[in-house]
């Protein structure tokens, strides 16, 4: 249980897909202009990660890694097919995305209409392939943990795109220097948020059994910090407008 909890928090905050390893930056930058679309894409990413990471874990465990084919018989123990992992992982992802699209279209047209345009985009979202590749590189030991890893890194990505979309909606009212407008300022804000997320690095180090309360307080206080930051930003925008009006 504890390892699940640890992996969960670790993947959301410390190894956050966007802020720590820069995965899925393209869609993160392209689809974060409005909160509503960001939520749609974020949900789709969580869903696809939750499906593909365990699937690729099975592939890795029983087909690709060194000696994985031993279940076929002892004479297969020497095979190491791990050089095929890129092509098989991406094939799984592309197929799953297509399948999910067909299933969702058939059974839930409403959900399809809200997610529809994002689903094909997701096949080439690096966060998805990155999830599978990191799962392989970190040698996640069980199927349950692999599922956990998929879901929690999806949630981390969701949080990131939600936060930047909210900030970008606000920043439209601020006076950003013209050459920084749009892409430039988004990069810099993401960098600043990344520095904030770096501070989570201390969260799970120390003893083997991190006290629960300590975790919660860290999360809360940083949440408060972000809110404070946003409030400050609003105030700044307001004061600027006042100056202009006067």
């Amino acid at each position: 249980m504890l390892e699940h909890l640890e992996l969960f928090f670790k993947s959301i905050f410390i190894d956050n897909m966007v802020f720590a390893v820069f995965l899925g930056m393209c869609s993160y930058l392209a689809v974060s202009k409005k909160v509503s679309t960001a939520v749609g894409l974020g949900a789709a990413v969580i869903f696809v990660l939750a499906v593909t990471v365990p699937l690729n874990w099975l592939l890795d465990q029983y087909l690709l890694r060194d000696g994985a084919l031993v279940w076929l018989g002892p004479e297969y123990a020497d095979y190491n097919l791990s050089f095929l992992s890129f092509i098989l992982f991406i094939a799984t992802i592309a197929t799953m995305v297509q399948l999910v699209e067909i299933v969702v279209e058939k059974f839930s047209p409403a959900l399809y209409n809200s997610l529809g345009i994002f689903l094909p985009l997701i096949a080439v979202n690096c966060a998805i392939l990155g999830g599978s590749l990191f799962m392989q590189a970190r040698e996640i030991p069980s199927l349950g943990l692999a599922f956990n890893y998929g879901v929690s890194s999806g949630i981390g990505w969701f949080l990131a795109i939600l936060a930047i979309a909210a900030i970008r909606e606000k920043i439209r009212y601020s006076n950003v220097p013209a050459p920084l407008r749009g892409l430039g300022i988004t990069f810099i804000i993401t960098g600043l948020m990344g520095i904030g997320f770096q501070s989570f690095g201390g969260m799970l180090t120390g003893d083997n059994e991190p006290p629960e309360e300590a975790d919660n307080t860290t999360v809360e206080s940083s949440g408060e910090k972000e809110i404070k930051k946003e409030i400050e930003k609003d105030e700044k925008a307001v004061s600027y407008n006042d100056v202009v009006n006067n």
Binding site: F22, A91, A94, P120, A137, P177, P179, G191, L192
Partner: protein, 215 residues
């Protein structure tokens, strides 16, 4: 420029500055940032992408009339994945240490949006030679940004270039360090890459006002 007509030359030169894949088209940022803490890794990454995009664009351009449009994404992914496996195996064979540093980011070239973006936007509609030039041009544009970011991050963060100390010895306090200069550890951590790219965009758009976005 006797080799290339003016139009062909533009295919290579445009993406280097005014139509740069990273700063203007917003493609391929994913793998670009994580590996730029060292100049050497940036250069290797740039070369890998030049290879994959150049060859991939030609292959897709040759296949463009036989790929059914419904499954083109899967076909494109398979082509890229094959090329990336080649790059990965070559790196593992000849530069094992470096392939450890790059880790999963070599694999992530597959989902590098520059590659899919250029396949979709260019290779599917143009002949092999033009696609080749377009691929090389865009990959070079990507590489230029990577190398600029890698240069500043390694120089300011570790005081080295390609692993060779250029500012003196920080422990023995020679060279620049004798004057009290310190390495900026901030440049090593991942978020610094984003801020450096943000500043590159700032500089580029200040020089070329036509690129400024509408608010």
């Amino acid at each position: 420029m006797a080799l290339l007509s003016k139009k062909d030359a533009n295919l290579i030169l445009d993406p280097l500055a005014d139509n740069n894949p990273i700063t203007i088209q917003v493609l391929g940022i994913c793998s670009a940032l994580a590996i730029t803490a060292e100049l050497k890794a940036s250069v290797v990454m740039a070369i890998s992408v030049i290879f994959v995009l150049g060859v991939g664009n030609v292959v897709i351009s040759l296949l463009r009339n036989v790929i059914p449009s419904k499954i083109r994404i899967i076909v494109q992914l398979i082509v890229v994945a094959t090329l990336v496996i080649v790059v990965d195996q070559v790196l593992k064979a000849f530069a094992y240490e470096l392939s450890k540093t790059l880790a999963v980011f070599v694999g992530l070239i597959i989902t590098n949006c520059i590659i899919m973006g250029r396949f979709e936007a260019f290779a599917l509609g143009n002949g092999p030679w033009k696609s080749f030039l377009d691929g090389i041009g865009n990959a070079l544009g990507y590489g230029v940004i990577l190398i600029i970011v890698g240069f500043f991050r390694e120089l300011l963060g570790s005081g080295t270039l390609f692993g060779i100390p250029v500012l003196g010895d920080p422990i023995a306090k020679t060279g620049l360090y004798a004057t009290g200069y310190e390495n900026n550890g901030f440049m090593i951590i991942p978020p610094a890459a984003l801020i450096v790219v943000g500043i590159i965009i700032w500089v580029q758009r200040s020089r070329n006002k036509a690129l400024i976005e509408e608010a």
